[in-house]
Chain length 430, copies 2
Amino acid sequence: MKTPLRIGIAGLGTVGAGVVKLLAEHGRLLALRGGRPLKLVAVSARSRSKKRDIDLAGVRWEKDPLALATASDIDVVVELIGGSGGIARRLVQKSLTSGKHVVTANKALLALHGAEIAAQAEKKDRILAFEAAVAGGIPIIKALREGLVGNRVQRLYGILNGTCNYILTTMRETGRDFDVVLAEAQAAGYAEADPSFDVDGIDAAHKLAVLTGAAFGARVNFGGIHVEGIRRVTSMDIQFAEELGYRIKLLGLARETKYGIEQRVHPCMVPLATPIAHIEGVFNAVVIDGDFVGTTMFQGRGAGQGPTASAVVADLVDVARGRHMPAFVVPADRLADRPASPMDRHVGAYYMRLMVQDRPGVISAVSGALAKERISLESMLQRGRSESGEVPVVLTTHATEEAAMRRALAHIAKLKAVAEEPCLIRIEAF
Amino acid sequence: MKTPLRIGIAGLGTVGAGVVKLLAEHGRLLALRGGRPLKLVAVSARSRSKKRDIDLAGVRWEKDPLALATASDIDVVVELIGGSGGIARRLVQKSLTSGKHVVTANKALLALHGAEIAAQAEKKDRILAFEAAVAGGIPIIKALREGLVGNRVQRLYGILNGTCNYILTTMRETGRDFDVVLAEAQAAGYAEADPSFDVDGIDAAHKLAVLTGAAFGARVNFGGIHVEGIRRVTSMDIQFAEELGYRIKLLGLARETKYGIEQRVHPCMVPLATPIAHIEGVFNAVVIDGDFVGTTMFQGRGAGQGPTASAVVADLVDVARGRHMPAFVVPADRLADRPASPMDRHVGAYYMRLMVQDRPGVISAVSGALAKERISLESMLQRGRSESGEVPVVLTTHATEEAAMRRALAHIAKLKAVAEEPCLIRIEAF
């Protein structure tokens, strides 16, 4: 039997414990499939006494995770601490400069420092692998970097945050509002106590940044992403969406435009006839449009112990087999440094829902504001009277430039008869 | 720049021409992504004069494809001739024994001789890659061999033949019968003049055999597959399926049972609530259930020039980067040689549709035959009278063993009041 791949794991939360379990449970299988044994040599975590339900007999405990980076008996460091800076970043960088391979699930770190860390890995001819950073168990990084390597990616988009998708699915199924469903999700453990990372779209944006880098061979550019979360999506809008033949999903989308690379995370109306409309609950899905392969979609569980451990171990087997390639498909010094395509230049269709005083002239004023910006209406829906005197008016437009839509919206919001901030949701045509 | 990977292609049909186009169109991109240029050195095909719309300037033409196997200026032979024997098999084997890597889209060859050819590749330490053999552009072989390598696969199933899926989709959408839709598909070029390879399930079975080998690390066993095609699916059954909350799909399915590995290709009723029910037209999809990752699904175009070329080129980039592993995940001499789980031992639910004389006692006789085999009914549907006096009776059962169902069916078919061969379709619960 060949020499084992010697592994050090930093971070023994849900994912770290899952990796330890998987390595133990499938040890023989992995040795066969990886061509050599995968041997856990050392671990490090904040608390040694925490109950974890894993067997660490014979595994060295390192108090300082950074010790893994320089230990002479470790070939690959698995970073599962998380966070874009601090100890996680120091560990990854020190491991690479010390000549270790690195496997990480840290999307925040990659989103903010991906290109720099990729360059460090290449300088030392070491592997930087991060399948677990995006879409849990779905092998989407491998699909982008290898399986679809023959394609110029024309567009990618996906449901990248299970918490948001769970909330939107539940809002639709129950008719309840965002705050109520979020509180339930928190009680059930599907959402964090501080949910902003998920519901404000940051987590999805981290993942989108990493995907975009791998898909377009470009420097990861988290700062170039237009990000909106799901807090302002109401059950009323979800219901209107269904009536119009759409479903509301928080998507991350990226494509090349003549202005650069457009990356955006925001609630979208997607046609009910598209497969991604039917990805519900905690599932994730990523769609890749390639110039030769056409449209492909990959779906699965986007988080959780088993799926994420599956992704980490796939990376470890790649390391065991010495399957080497640049982190973002092309060498770090050849990564494209394209500007972020400005959101004002985005072209697409829009859904707008207003609450208006039900009196003569309102529709005329609203449609006049749109006409002034040369925005053409696709449909308009007005509902009967209400006791408060405010009624919803829903408009959908044909494709128009975001800047024009924003100008029209600002004008409309100031109309006396418009009772609250209008709700604007982009419609995606696939 | 590093030394190029020198490529010889045998077969310049749709796929071969697509590979030539892709290599030409994305030459610079591929050199960057593959770490070295991918250089087409020689080609061979039956007719040199055939119009192909590809540029072969500077590419050597070999009259005899076998010359590619021994040419000193070729590193990898791409076999796109097809067929399980004859020249394709000789070319693949001779290429490997001559020390070339081999990339092939030949599912028939792999289904019948996969383990043997894998052993030849390993003996010479060469790569045998076949992403294009299954599900066109979907990188499913890579997902199984690498992306999900940390999992014990519990079950896999998929829509593996685009022609059948197109026919079933069209039958459902138009209400037309199999023969009519097949003729239309032939006229439109979606089905071959001799359609038996597709509609009788052979093509799907070839692909299933290859998937099963890669998923379970087992010797490819085409002979162990239970195969039924779609010729006997009627639009009446498609309509009943919808009423019952199902959709009829030709699936290939594989799982381990206590008797061995169960592999089957046949029309299935799949619940409308499952994602695979919504894979329509020429699209393919494969679902993998892994013990850690849970359920994952991969979908895309299952055939055609662009998608298949995308898969071939992905394999070529793996070869260029020297990404090496056993063809069926574990070394050829360690492939499991498990028996085929007999179809009689299959356990599942069934849909049965009879045409019966509308007279007293028929239902009693039918249900008596089922009761005798201890098969319990889940639902029964009987439709009003017809002029011919024959009416459809539809029954669905709870899970039962296939052998019992077969015995009951034989008994029922012999009843005087049963007018034609009963239609039996397995119901799959996912």
